[in-house]
């Protein structure tokens, strides 16, 4: 038994806490349905203590996918739809109060906290809700499968096929005379957090590559992420070199970086961007890591980008949540925002990506990007700079390819950073690195409103399903794990869902600027808080008007106009064909008919 909406479309995590119409949800809409949704519990007379509307009394339904609260007293009916994957922590608040109520809170990963309360007299019931949540919100900790493995929805498109590493290398023109695709990591024996196919300089044999791997943290050797179609300047990524306190060197590594530089005839320099603050990079030497010394790597210039680590970012977002949820302290809004430093971090990341893109585009110089392990800040920087450099990644599918490539295949540790189904909410490995990247993308869409094929809803939906546990896309930490878990076979890809209803995610202003390089302004006067994501639970913030609807209208209108223009063009072609045959003297006119007279 479950909610019928699940039969028709995947429940959108975005609609949580939203008000839906009573027509859509009658009191008896819990109809029997597909096997994937198992109903676990129904509890009546539960109080949802809404920070905006006050306490609401209603019914809670919990399935293995979500918690569904409905309050019939409100008009329209109030509905809270919470995928259990969003829950970070379930906690009891206080003991039994004198009035006999016991309440507990759900701390969520998506910038909100929810509170529920029960009458003490329903002791057994309350206990069971708490226990059900403790069990099913954290399936991994309880030896249960994540819901994505049970979700049986079929979509017209198979999103797992969106990304094919070899095809993407081919699109970039790889292999070519300087770069080859190696099979050295075919079974992840070279580096278990890297993808199986890697693009490396042609003249470095696989034996040397293994030695380079020994010198790089976690074996994450420098490999090609992107190559400039004209200058052949490249963006390569890796982890820190294992220099240590004694300043260890590796001939193979030095030769390798030289080969990367040599692969680009346009420049006799190589830029190494270390994403970290120099202090942190130096501190890493104590743990065997460190950074490239310019003495060892000739013609290389090392630049630190001063971006802080995952712990700083986690703390920053935690503070931001405190500032925006549930209520905003009006007179001190900006100073409170300032105290979170969130925008400052965004600025540093964007400035770093911009420097990389500028070196490659304007300086025609190849760059090597790394941080410590090369899976957090490095992923942010390479993917953002590629988004600036290559219009393909600014299409909806291209963006999916970018994520599949730079984030998923190169081993951003989603499982650890998000903590899917894991009850250990204090885990120091959790961090909003990916959220921060999407924020940067949003900042770019604000500055280039016509350059991206997708809209804000696409970005928000992606973040919703980052936590929802409905799709397999963001599960596991590496390609190796995903292959082992057989994710494509056992779960649905988020792209299947997205690509099956693209009209919801398209930007009507999009113009195919495919060959444009976008250099955003990273001035603080241009950066703003992504209110549409971080503050969306506040009903006063909700867009006064559904812009999505307007987007759809505009898109429909554009499609219609496009049809009309094509019709006209056909007609014009026919006419000019007939008129030119009449005027038999000019049969060679081959100019586009439309432009003939303008």
């Amino acid at each position: 038994r479950s909610d019928r909406s699940a039969q028709t479309k995947p429940p959108s995590a975005m609609s949580s806490d939203s008000v839906s119409t009573s027509a859509e949800l009658s009191p008896d809409d819990d109809v029997t349905m597909t096997s994937c949704w198992s109903h676990l519990l129904t509890a009546k007379e539960v109080m949802y203590i809404c920070p905006f509307r006050g306490p609401l009394r209603g019914t809670v339904n919990v399935t293995n996918y979500r918690l569904f609260f409905r309050c019939m007293d409100q008009e329209p009916v109030f509905v809270l739809d919470l995928p259990l994957g969003v829950v970070s922590r379930v906690e009891k608040i206080g003991g039994a109060s004198s009035r006999g109520d016991v309440s507990y809170g759900l701390v969520c990963k998506d910038m909100r906290n929810l509170r529920f309360a029960h009458k003490q007299s329903e002791d057994a019931l309350k206990k069971s809700i708490f226990e059900v949540l403790m069990k099913y919100a954290f399936p991994v900790s309880n030896g249960l499968p994540i819901f994505a493995f049970e979700y049986g929805q079929v979509f017209p498109e198979n999103g797992w096929k969106v990304y094919d590493a070899i095809a993407e290398y081919k699109r970039q023109g790889i292999p070519n005379e300087s770069w080859r695709v190696t099979k050295a990591n075919d079974h992840y024996e070279l580096c278990d957090t890297y993808p199986s196919s890697l693009a490396v300089p042609v003249n470095i044999p696989d034996e040397d590559i293994r030695r380079v791997a020994a010198f790089r943290a976690k074996g994450r050797i420098p490999v090609l992420s992107w190559i400039h179609p004209e200058s052949q300047a490249t963006v390569t990524r890796c982890s820190q070199p294992m220099v240590g306190v004694n300043g260890k060197r590796s001939k193979e590594d030095e030769k390798y970086l030289q080969a990367i530089m040599d692969a680009n005839a346009q420049s006799h320099k190589l830029f190494i961007f270390d994403a970290r603050p120099s202090v942190n990079a130096a501190a890493n030497k104590m743990k065997g890591g460190g950074y490239e010394s310019e003495d060892a790597y000739q013609n290389a210039e090392l630049v630190f980008l001063d971006i802080h680590n995952i712990h700083v970012m986690r703390e920053s977002l935690r503070k931001l949540k405190e500032v925006v949820y549930p209520n905003i302290e009006e007179p001190h809004w900006l100073s409170n925002l300032e105290s979170t430093h969130w925008l400052e971090h965004i600025k540093l990341i964007m400035a770093g990506a911009l420097r990389i893109a500028d070196k490659v585009e304007s300086g025609k110089t190849s760059v090597v990007v790394h941080c410590s392990d090369g899976w957090d800040r490095t992923a942010q920087l390479t993917s953002l700079s590629m988004l600036m450099l290559d219009g393909f990644y600014r299409t909806t599918r291209g963006f999916q390819v970018l994520l599949e490539k730079e984030w998923l295949s190169f081993g951003h540790r989603f499982q650890l950073r998000i903590g899917h189904g894991d009850k250990n909410h204090t885990d120091a490995d959790r961090s909003p690195v990916f959220v921060q990247f999407i924020d940067c993308v949003w900042q770019m869409t604000r500055q280039f409103p016509a350059a991206f094929e997708f809209n804000e809803n696409f970005l928000v939906t992606m973040l919703d399903h980052l936590y929802s546990g409905l799709f397999g896309t963001f599960l596991c930490n590496s390609e190796q794990q995903r292959v082992k878990e057989e994710l494509p076979k056992r779960s649905m890809s988020l792209w299947s869902f997205i690509n099956s209803q693209l009209e919801d995610f398209s930007n009507p202003l999009y113009v195919n600027y495919s060959n444009h390089v976008l250099f955003p302004v990273v001035s603080l006067r241009h950066l703003e808080l992504w209110v549409g994501y971080y503050v969306r639970w506040n009903p006063r913030m909700r867009p006064q008007e559904p812009v999505h609807q307007r987007y759809k209208e505009l898109l429909a209108r554009r499609a219609e106009l496009q049809r009309r223009v094509e019709e006209l063009q056909r007609e014009v072609t026919n006419r000019s064909a007939s008129s030119s045959s009449e005027r038999a003297g000019s049969p060679t006119r081959s100019i586009t008919p439309v432009q003939t007279f303008v």
């Binding site: 202003l509 195919n512 250099f519 603080l524």
Partner: protein
């Protein structure tokens, strides 16, 4: 080209305010403009003398003699002249030129857009306030047109035509006007037909500590009686209570609820013109800082209080709107003289209540009515003539900003885009058109502005396709006649395109308007081509412009134009062009060092934003 040229100085450098970039060229001084022509071919940029707020000569440096010009449209121009003498000449000439002492010296009296008298006359007839009151449903059985102010005798800062309750006879009006500061008695400014509720405006009563005026009390009674939906009238004093109390000592003050039997009195706490002037000044100081950290920026914006003041005005307008549309009550709005805060609140309230004012034409009507005709002192507030600096205040700028904040919250509700607001702001200060000259209608008639100058509204109307908001939905006004904005603090944002309008490095990287405009043109051209082809025999001639145009599509498919220009070459947006690549690259390096923002040259797409190109001519 037709400017009377005084003299010119060569080899002048123009510095960018936020980067180390500079361009060199020749500076020309004319009777009306200061024009800078770059050595490398590009369109000249010019500063209208009327726009200049201050000129400052900085101390001599090794590179030359710097001259900094601050403009009322928030442009800051920084020239470096080679010779101290030239600098001094320009400086002293500007000082002489930028403070005209008589209205006739203003640009509007010499500006000639090559129109004949009939065209000019038609331009002035575009906005007709009589028709506007008719549109609201006035006169009606409860409201009448009065001619008491036919000769500006009762109130010289009000227009001739005024609307009052039918029960307000002449003695009541005259009596009430004597009890009101500057004679500004309560009159109708907006009529909410659906509930027959009125928005009225006036100045403060001369109540002192205990004075009464029976006629004034009757006047409020009459306003109340004209609305059967409510037993009382709201009286909104837009000032902070403390200010109103202080006014009592000067024999002014506010209405005593005990004397007016049917009012509900309310303070809404908008600060006065001096506070607003100082606040904006602080804001400009914060954002003018070249090496601003994120923390300086956020703390600075909060500290100057500007956005808080903007919110206070919007809050007041919301209060007014709710009283009228939800409670169906009539509201009387005043401040001290009833021409600053009152104008802000009445016009913003009307904008929230009536979708008509959210159209391009309707917005012109609104400004004409609540600001121009009711005597907002544009001459004093905008410092048109050499006047009292204490009278200068960004009250109208603040109103435009309130409107902009609303357009950000309601992207579909407004027919116009922010360029329309910016263009109006530009011309409020340019003194190029007659509309905003002087302080009130009487003065404008004396100046014979209709005969001697041109109307801005006609000019904007002609250009209206440039000011259209691509997201506007005309249906929206029907489904959402009344706007209910949120006033959470993050809904009040720094208006970058107003305060950094002329700082090219601060511009958005890509202009939606420009894109849509080009697309529109492409589509129109193809339609014309088709018509030309359909017309036998005319295939080789240009399409006839007079043929009725097909409905202009708002968002045509971005086919030809875009792909044509973009799919062939790799183009960089947001960076310099090909020739100066090296130079800008070097600068990039520098700007990273101190953590300052990237300072890149503007892409071509953005440099000629609508309105902006126009403004400099």
């Amino acid at each position: 080209e037709e400017h009377e040229r005084y003299f010119n100085v060569e080899q002048v450098r123009l510095l960018d305010r936020f980067s180390s970039k500079s361009t060199s060229g020749t500076l020309y001084l004319t009777a009306t403009h200061l024009i800078f022509v770059e050595s490398s071919p590009s369109s000249p940029s010019s500063v209208l003398h009327h726009h200049i707020a201050s000129v400052e000569k900085l101390s001599l440096t090794t590179t030359g003699c710097p001259l900094v010009i601050q403009c009322r449209n928030f442009r800051v121009v920084h020239f470096v002249l080679q010779r101290e003498r030239d600098c001094h000449d320009i400086y002293s000439s500007l000082l002489r030129l930028l403070r005209p002492v008589a209205y006739e010296e203003l640009y509007a009296f010499s500006y000639n857009p090559k129109q004949n008298d009939q065209q000019r006359e038609e331009g002035w007839q575009l906005i007709d306030l009589g028709a506007e009151y008719e549109r609201m449903g006035v006169p009606c059985d409860q409201w009448q047109l009065t001619d008491v102010n036919r000769d500006f005798k009762v109130c010289e800062t009000y227009p001739r035509d005024l609307y009052v309750p039918i029960t307000a006879n002449k003695p009541i009006i005259v009596g009430s006007s004597k009890f009101r500061s500057k004679g500004r008695f309560p009159v109708l400014t907006y009529f909410y037909q659906e509930k027959k509720a009125a928005v009225c405006r006036c100045s403060q009563p001369l109540s002192g500590f205990s004075a009464r005026c029976l006629e004034d009390e009757s006047m409020l009674q009459a306003i109340s009686k004209a609305n059967h939906n409510s037993r009382f009238v709201y009286v909104m004093d837009t000032r902070p209570k403390l200010n109103a109390l202080a006014n009592r000592a000067a024999g002014k003050g506010y209405e005593n609820e005990d004397n007016y039997s049917n009012i509900r009195f309310q303070f809404v706490g908008i600060e006065n013109i001096h506070v607003m002037r100082a606040s904006l000044q602080k804001l400009l100081e914060v954002i003018g800082n070249r090496s601003l950290s994120m923390s300086d920026y956020l703390m600075g914006i909060e500290g100057c209080g500007w956005l808080r003041h903007v919110k206070a005005v919007v809050d007041a307008a919301i209060f007014l709107t709710k009283a009228v549309t939800v409670e169906g009550a009539s509201v009387l709005v005043h401040c001290s003289d009833g021409w600053d805060r009152t104008a802000q609140v009445c016009s913003l309230g009307a904008l929230l209540m009536d979708p008509y004012y959210r159209t391009i034409k309707g917005f012109m009507v609104l400004i004409e009515k609540d600001w121009i005709s009711f005597g907002h002192k544009f001459a004093d507030r905008c410092d048109q003539l050499d006047g009292d600096p204490k009278e200068v205040s960004p009250v109208f700028t603040q109103f435009l900003e309130c409107v902009w904040q609303l357009t950000e919250q309601f992207p579909q509700a407004f027919e116009f885009s922010e360029w329309f607001l910016l263009q109006i702001h530009e011309h409020v200060h340019s003194c190029q058109y007659g509309n905003f000259l002087g302080n009130n209608q009487r003065q404008r008639e004396e100046l014979q502005l209709r005969e001697k100058t041109h109307s801005l509204w006609a000019f904007l109307m002609e250009e209206q396709q440039n000011y259209q908001n691509p997201f506007y939905s005309s249906v929206y006004g029907k489904t959402h006649p009344v706007l209910e904005p949120s006033t959470l603090p993050y809904h009040f944002k720094f208006w970058r395109n107003m305060y950094h309008q002329f700082d090219r490095s601060m511009h958005p990287r890509q202009s939606i308007l420009k894109t849509i405009h080009t697309l529109k043109e492409t589509s129109l051209k193809s339609a014309q081509t088709l018509r030309a082809l359909e017309n036998p025999g005319a295939a080789a001639t240009l399409p006839d412009q007079r043929q009725p145009r097909p409905p202009a599509p708002q968002l045509p498919h971005p086919g030809e134009e875009a792909t044509e220009s973009t799919d062939t070459d790799r183009t960089v947006e947001g960076s310099s062009g090909t020739d100066s690549r090296k130079q800008s690259y070097g600068e990039l390096e520098g700007s990273y060092e101190d953590g300052d923002e990237m300072t890149k040259e503007e892409p071509a797409v953005v440099s000629l934003e609508f309105g902006m190109a126009r403004m400099t001519c």
